[in-house]
């Protein structure tokens, strides 16, 4: 796979394919990438990287020769960029008739917005997500992730590429795929679009549910700590009341889900008076022992220390060739599924700009190291760059995160 990609949407999808065994070559251009986020996000892991200046005719020629050898060529530039570079689908399919080409962008191409720039959060707004978060009459709220739609784009890209590969296995034919991140969000919420077509006004319920009551996020002991609780049926309601003991909301009216829905404001208040006395994870364990659906609201550090995720082997340690931000290795989550009886794939370290010019061009095209060096000297290829990852974040830190995680410090001590 040849991926003309910049963080984060498409790279998240090609990383999934790399974990499944695809040889993914990231093509990096001369533009400076946002390495801090790219590194911590992990979307460039398990790929090799060649640096090509596509505006140099000799660089473009190398790219076209790589296209001839690829099963898949994908990109995530704004619509029209690949065409202007001379790498539109017509050119690519003429070079390699069986090639699968995927183009990802914020709004998709063609269309009146195809040339508009986008970040994940703007596609979430346009795709209909923000309008569903929070409670009326508050303004729409955005997901506080920054990469929600990017990751969704990655998921759909991996799906589309595997579908096209499976199809090509049967038919021998390639395909052109244009993916819109905004449409990805809209398909995720497609039932609300269909509902609106039938005259339904989607409700902004905050954290409540149409069917389960009570349901909410309640304050716990600890700084900005919360627990999510869903009472899914009468049995779970009784279990919650038994666990709460004297603190439980009283009244026969709450024995039915209709009664609990009508009285949810009162119930929420009583529940929070109770939950605030407990640590979130301890309370979630107790509720689950009683069969009540509950979980602590995870902070960004929590999954790294979750014994359940550890036992399932979700996180893999990535050992760096050179220390990054003072440490020799860091944990990253892998693909969220595995084949029973098999280990999850290991993750390989990030390869920076042009790191694999020599081995990839030798393996794919038979170009000698001396020729690669000449192409680097001429500016057609971008020579391997040693990137120092800058830590650009300020404030709101746990200074002892390295000790908590037991990260190996560069220089040997941990």
């Amino acid at each position: 796979m040849l991926s003309f990609e910049v963080a984060y949407s498409l790279p998240a999808g090609t990383r999934t394919l790399a974990e499944l065994g695809a040889k993914v070559v990231r093509v990096a251009g001369p533009a400076r990438d946002s390495f801090y986020i790219s590194v911590v996000d992990g979307v460039y892991l398990s790929k090799t990287c060649v640096g090509i200046n596509l505006k140099d005719p000799a660089g473009l020629a190398i790219a076209k020769r790589l296209v001839e050898k690829a099963d898949v060529v994908c990109s995530n530039f704004v619509g029209g960029v690949m065409e202007r570079l001379g790498l539109g689908y017509e050119v690519l399919s003429a070079l390699n008739p069986a090639v699968i080409v995927l183009q990802l962008s914020g709004f998709g191409s063609p269309g009146p917005w195809s040339g508009y720039p986008a970040f994940g959060p703007s596609t979430e707004a346009a795709g209909g997500m923000n309008q569903l978060i929070g409670e009326d009459p508050e303004p729409p709220i955005r997901i506080g992730s920054g990469v929600f739609s990017d990751q969704l784009g990655g998921r759909f890209s991996a799906l589309a590429l595997l579908a096209a590969l499976e199809e090509r296995q049967r038919t021998g034919r390639g395909r052109f795929i244009d993916f819109s991140m905004t449409e990805g969000v809209s398909m995720l919420l497609g039932h609300t679009v269909v509902g609106a077509a039938l005259g339904e006004q989607p409700e902004r319920r905050g954290n409540r549910d149409r069917d389960f009551a009570p349901q909410g996020i309640y304050r716990c002991k600890g700084e900005d700590d919360w627990i999510a609780i869903s009472v899914k049926d009468d049995r779970q309601w009784i279990a919650l009341c038994i666990l709460m003991g004297d603190a439980a909301p009283g009244g026969d009216a709450f024995e039915t889900v209709e009664g609990r829905r009508a009285g949810q404001v009162e119930i929420d208040g009583v529940i929070e008076v109770w939950t605030v006395g407990f640590a979130k994870d301890e309370l979630a364990e107790r509720l689950q022992r009683y069969g009540v659906a509950a979980a602590g609201v995870a902070k960004s550090r929590d999954p790294l220390f979750d014994r359940h995720l550890q036992e399932r082997g979700l996180f893999k340690t990535v050992t760096h060739k050179r220390p990054i931000l003072g440490y020799d290795a860091h944990p990253h989550p892998t693909t969220p599924w595995f084949a029973v009886g098999h280990e999850r794939a290991e993750l390989a370290d990030i390869h920076f700009h042009g790191a694999d010019n020599t081995p990839v061009l030798a393996e794919w095209l038979g170009i000698s190291p001396a020729e690669v060096m000449a192409l680097e000297d001429s500016g057609a290829l971008i020579a391997p760059t040693l990137v120092e990852v800058e830590d650009r974040r300020t404030g709101y830190r746990d200074a002892d995160f390295g000790e908590q995680l037991g990260l190996p410090k560069s220089g040997g001590s941990s």
């Binding site: 346009a126 990751q151 499976e166 679009v193 549910d209 869903s230």
Partner: protein, 366 residues
């Protein structure tokens, strides 16, 4: 590819939906009377939602508790390439469809099992809902306003994302089997792990620098100005990650606020009441699509904040033919299809009646 879908909720149903939209034959196996199998019950779909999630599929109604139903299912499993299910750990076995039995029937079968926390680990039997899965996975904690209660994302996001992962896992396994590199497999797909991917950046930030993600200050957000404001015809989302305040203020017609002190986000936050009215007046002076077009030409990533009903007139969706003609609750309606170009499935864009395809698929059985 023929896929059998045994759904207890929206996760397996969405996996089936995307495979069906891709042109594969997806057969919903439904209990007598139709509907979902009792299982993990992490979400309950209403009629409209049900119709959206089950389009382009076939339906076979089977009593798996009966000998004839179990035999019919075993035959279907022999002829299938994959089974997708979300009944929860141990539930398939209770219906006489354990992995061992399925594998004996078909050595190259792919079984994709979706469950809230996966089939292994200390939380494998935990109860869950859409909210509980989202909360256990991530983005919830940083969604909403500082000092206030966090919010979940809309819809069945965690279920749907697990479904996309399951469909991808099935295609990957099938690709490997056809290529002769793997054999039949049982795939364990965790909804928690799938949703957690949508927050990897923040987990990574903590693991690399100890940086804690936090909810933004109400009113003006991380950029030092309100990111969602009312234009003349609806909500507008304003994001200009790499622009200076001076550039943004000029673009929004707020020249009076282009001074040294207003460049400081903390100053803007502290003096927001002075800026708030001119800011909102500026946004309200034009339509969201005007702002969107001009911002895009300037390189800013603004966007209209669409409601579900806005999408019917979304000019980009119209130009790309994203909304397909479908049938829900007996009415013709526009329905979101796949978010990428792909030949439209030949199957009708509606959900099947329970047992609609019994005769074709089971023939004389049952």
């Amino acid at each position: 590819m023929r896929v059998l879908e045994i759904a207890g909720g929206p996760a397996a149903a969405f996996a089936g939906l995307v495979l069906a939209e891709l042109g594969h034959e997806v057969v919903r196996v439904e209990p007598p009377g139709g509907g979902s199998f009792p299982g993990s019950s992490t979400a309950v779909l209403n009629e409209v939602e049900w119709a959206y999630f089950n389009r382009r599929k076939k339906s076979v109604e089977l009593d798996l508790e009966s000998d004839s139903g179990a035999q019919a299912f075993a035959k279907m499993a022999r002829d299938a390439d994959a089974v997708v299910e979300d009944l929860g750990r141990g539930m398939l076995k209770r219906h006489g469809m354990s992995w061992r039995q399925l594998r004996e029937a078909n050595r190259s079968l792919v079984l994709a099992s979706i469950s809230p926390f996966g089939h292994t680990g200390p939380k494998r039997n935990w109860q869950a809902s859409e909210l509980v899965i989202q909360a256990a996975s991530g983005p919830v904690h940083s969604t909403g306003w500082k000092g206030e209660r966090p919010f979940k994302a809309g819809g069945y996001a965690a279920h749907v994302i697990a479904g996309i992962n399951a469909a991808t896992a099935v295609l990957a396994a099938r690709f490997g089997i056809t290529a002769g590199t793997t054999r039949g497999v049982h795939l364990d797909i965790s909804m928690q792990e799938a949703y957690l991917q949508h927050w990897t950046r923040h987990i990574g930030e903590w693991a690399y620098t100890g940086t804690k993600m936090h909810r933004e200050r109400k009113g003006f957000g991380h950029q030092g100005f309100r990111h969602t404001a009312m234009a003349s015809d609806g909500w507008l989302y304003l994001l200009a990650l790499f622009a200076s305040w001076d550039e943004i203020a000029l673009f929004l017609g707020l020249e009076d606020f282009i001074t040294a002190e207003w460049q400081d986000p903390e100053y803007r936050a502290d003096h927001w009441p002075e800026l708030e009215q001119p800011y909102h007046d500026s946004i309200a002076s034009r339509s969201r699509y005007d702002w969107f077009a001009e911002a895009s030409e300037t390189g800013y990533t603004f966007a209209p904040v669409h409601s579900a009903a806005d999408q019917f007139a979304n000019p980009q969706f119209v130009a790309r033919g994203f909304l397909k003609d479908g049938e829900v609750a007996g009415r013709r309606v526009p329905v979101p299809g796949l978010p990428f170009t792909w030949p439209e499935s030949a199957m009708p864009n509606r959900a099947p009646q329970p047992g609609e395809d019994n005769e074709e698929i089971l023939g004389g059985q049952q």
